[in-house]
């Protein structure tokens, strides 16, 4: 608004004849938006961030390796998961016997040795990756769905609904999750992957609920949410279309950080004998079995333990780096 408008008053706008207006309009139409590749840049920046961070590269590589191993377990494992050979064989040793049933003596190499049942340890660990990944992903997906819903509703509506939901979350938060999971398994009755997923998933709900609620509390005050209300947008649409997409970055980070916790929880439950069926190859069960033979056959518990450690560490490194990458992005957006 320039000063000649002030002095000339409204007559100025009346003086604009239609041609003039059209000319002005055309000029501003031709003005192209600020050139920016920021949108594609988001993904590129995350990629750059990960590539510039050695720990993140290690993490991402190991995560990929883990996923790959789980997916192609039957092809990677040298033997069938239930095949038995000589018991408590050391790493890098050989079993001798007629394992193929053709009357000839076979010589079988065990890179990591065998366990107390005579299972090839490397084969068990490779198949164990499947259970770990399956349990981790479904658990986090379950906790994400329920936790996000609770956080969204609590944060958006506030008041009594918020109080009730968050008091429940507080209660759960104060309760040791492994004990909660053990209790749930006892309540659900019986062992099995589904029960493990539900038990750990429920125990993780609070983490997502808190995170999402915190995000919603700040996003709810944004002017675009007010603008959506002014249009007449329903609460549900505001929550799913306006608020949730803006909270995605921290949720993704949280998911990558919850996956290793789920793997550990699954191992812990199996270790306690509350997890999957005892014959299923999982890392936690292997650990538990090996415990009895730790003096005679250290490798039975050490190698599954190492597998858990490496995978958990990898996910954490990857998740940390992802969080840093998203943080940079958020500060840039707010500066416009």
């Amino acid at each position: 608004m320039s000063n000649d408008h002030t002095t000339a008053g409204r007559s100025d706008s009346d003086a604009l004849d239609p041609d003039e207006r059209e000319r002005i309009a055309r000029r501003y139409r031709d003005e192209s938006p600020v050139e920016s590749t920021e949108n594609r840049g988001v993904y590129r920046r995350i990629r750059d961030q990960i590539l510039s961070d050695k720990k993140a590269i290690f993490g991402a590589t190991m995560v990929l390796l883990f996923v790959f191993t789980a997916m192609f377990a039957p092809m990677i494992a040298p033997y069938e998961q239930d095949e038995t050979f000589g018991i408590n064989q050391e790493p890098n040793s050989y079993s001798e016997g007629d394992y193929t049933g053709n009357g000839e003596i076979d010589r079988v190499w065990h890179v990591l040795g065998t366990d107390s049942f005579g299972h090839d340890l490397f084969t068990r660990i490779v198949f164990g990756a499947r259970i770990s990944l399956l349990v981790a992903l479904t658990t986090v997906a379950f906790a994400f769905t329920v936790g996000t819903a609770i956080g969204l509703i609590a944060g958006y509506y506030g008041g009594l609904i918020d109080e009730l939901l968050m008091r429940y979350v507080d209660f759960q938060w104060a309760f040791p999750s492994i004990i909660l999971a053990a209790g749930l398994i006892a309540f659900l009755g019986g062992l099995g992957v589904t029960n493990v997923v539900i038990a750990i998933g429920v125990a993780f709900i609070d983490d997502f609920a808190r995170l999402v609620r915190g995000e919603v509390l700040s996003i709810r005050e944004e002017e675009y949410v007010l603008a959506a209300r002014a249009i007449g947008t329903s609460d549900r649409r505001i929550m799913t279309k306006e608020i949730l997409p803006n909270a995605v970055a921290p949720i993704i980070v949280q998911m990558t950080l919850m996956i290793p916790l789920a793997i550990i929880a699954e191992a812990a439950l199996s270790f306690l004998g509350l997890g999957v069926k005892p014959t299923t190859p999982t890392w936690g069960l292997l650990l538990a079995e090996g415990r009895q033979y730790i003096n005679q056959a250290w490798w039975i518990s050490v190698f599954p333990g190492l597998a858990i450690m490496v995978v958990v560490l990898a996910f954490n490194m990857f998740g940390d780096s992802l969080r840093d990458a998203f943080d940079v992005k958020q500060s840039e957006v707010s500066e416009k």
Binding site: E222, E223, Y224
Partner: protein, 455 residues
């Protein structure tokens, strides 16, 4: 309750649906914000309330542009949002074309949202960063089920973009890829997608470059003519008001203090607050420049607004009581001292530190002298003796740390009718209303004061 029922309820004996009715009307509209944080606060006594909008009446006619002006924090934005039911009104009525819409739930309000839309101050903040321009402008069409299918809605969005002066090819772009002016055009396109009759524009150009402001204002003017829009234009920028508005409402601390047609207000402002606002507008022509009226003192908190006329704590022409022995000017100086003392603006500790540093000696008397020198404009010499004593004893009490005693001394010695009584609305002309004791013949004090001090 159906729409017709509600119309009937709101009638009060007259037919409000007739064309003479204002399109949008507020009647005693109030919006208080509860300051208490939780249950504990509520238990611990009455909640403090911010009276953001406190009894506002106005009318917005068809195709009319009414500007609401006032300082930051005077409640003008809250007024806009309350009219739209984005805040639940605490009291009063809002009527859209004769139908009461104040306090309707989101669901009940839905059909009226087509009629009344809003554009926001910060164009970027009002656009969701995760949605494309197409999604943003399409949202109102989807919510209200306008258009047969997605393709038709997209076509509408393209034509809307074209009308606000943006290329229809920008559909897939994100808000941050545009300049501020272009972002505001997107906001306008979204508001106009529903073809509303009322547009509430909350500081739509304040965040924009001066050169871009004019384009956006022209755009609004064009749409007003094309769609027959009524615009409620909320702003603090008086130069913009002159350009766009037909009528102006001046707001101070949640109340409307003056309402007049734009030319009348600019040429003949009556309320001292309006006068000081207008004197702050920059002018190119030196002949048009008037002496600036600088408002002193802090803006009082809307949580505890001043009694009587809310402007009395900062008013440059506050009225002395009938029994005042001295000149009006002397009273205003004393009154200013009183208000500074009451609002806690006088920092005794600071004065002590300052004295300590400069003279090395701090006595109650020297502090009291310094308090007067600091807070009293000029010297209290020209005050009548008894009143001078009051100033001095108040300063002394303050220096001793007896804040309450000091406060009661000044409150007693320097009362004003302005703090005692709420000014009633006085119609200067049929379309020019002012709330100020100076202009109200029925107010306390002598009616002959009317106009005596007017600039």
């Amino acid at each position: 309750m159906s729409e017709t029922d509600m119309t009937d309820v709101g009638v009060e004996g007259t037919d409000r649906n007739s064309n003479e009715d204002p399109l949008l009307q507020a009647d005693g509209l109030k919006k208080y914000f509860d300051q208490s944080d939780g249950m504990l606060d509520r238990l611990l006594g009455p909640a403090s309330k911010v009276k953001a909008v406190d009894g506002v009446d106005f009318e917005l006619g068809r195709q009319e542009t009414v500007a609401v002006v006032g300082e930051s924090g005077c409640g003008k934005s809250t007024l806009g949002k309350t009219l739209l039911n984005l805040h639940d009104p605490t009291g009063g009525e809002v009527r859209l074309d004769g139908t009461e819409i104040g306090g309707l739930s989101d669901k009940e309000m839905l059909p009226y949202r087509k009629e009344i839309q809003m554009i926001f101050q910060d164009p970027l903040a009002s656009l969701n960063p995760r949605q494309t321009v197409g999604d943003i402008i399409k949202a109102p069409l989807e919510v209200h089920g306008i258009g047969e299918d997605d393709a038709e809605r997209t076509e509408r969005v393209r034509s809307l973009l074209d009308r606000v002066g943006l290329s229809p090819d920008y559909l897939e772009r994100y808000p941050h890829q545009f300049s501020g002016g272009q972002q505001q055009r997107i906001g306008i396109a979204r508001a106009l997608a529903l073809e509303p009759r009322v547009l509430i524009a909350d500081e739509p150009v304040s965040a924009l470059d001066v050169s871009v402001q004019a384009q956006i204002l022209n755009l609004l003017n064009t749409f007003q003519e094309e769609f027959g829009l009524s615009i409620l234009f909320i702003t603090h920028d008086l130069s913009v008001v002159r350009y766009i508005a037909d009528r102006v409402l001046v707001m101070y601390l949640g109340e409307i203090v003056e309402a007049a047609p734009v030319d009348e207000l600019f040429e003949n402002p009556k309320h001292p607050y309006t006068q000081s606002l207008l004197s702050s507008v920059p002018r190119i022509d030196p002949k048009e420049r008037s002496d600036r009226i600088t408002l002193r003192g802090v803006v009082p908190s809307p949580m505890d607004p001043p009694s009587g006329c809310r402007f009395h704590t900062r008013c440059p022409v506050v009225i002395p009581p009938d029994e005042w022995p001295g000149t009006e000017e002397a009273f205003r100086f004393a009154f200013r001292f009183r208000n500074q003392l009451l609002s806690g603006e006088i920092d005794v500790e600071n004065i002590e530190t300052h004295l300590e540093a400069t003279t090395g000696r701090v006595t109650t008397e020297s502090v009291a002298d310094e308090v007067i020198a600091d807070a009293y404009p000029g010297s209290p010499e020209n005050l009548p003796g008894e009143k001078r004593d009051a100033i001095e004893s108040a300063a002394l009490a303050l220096a001793k740390g007896n804040d309450e005693e000091a406060a009661s001394i000044v409150t007693e010695a320097f009362p004003s009718p302005c703090e005692r009584r709420m000014p009633t609305e006085h119609r200067h002309a049929s379309d020019h209303a002012v709330r100020c004791h100076r202009l109200d013949p029925s107010a306390p004090g002598e009616p002959r004061r009317i106009g005596a001090d007017d600039a």
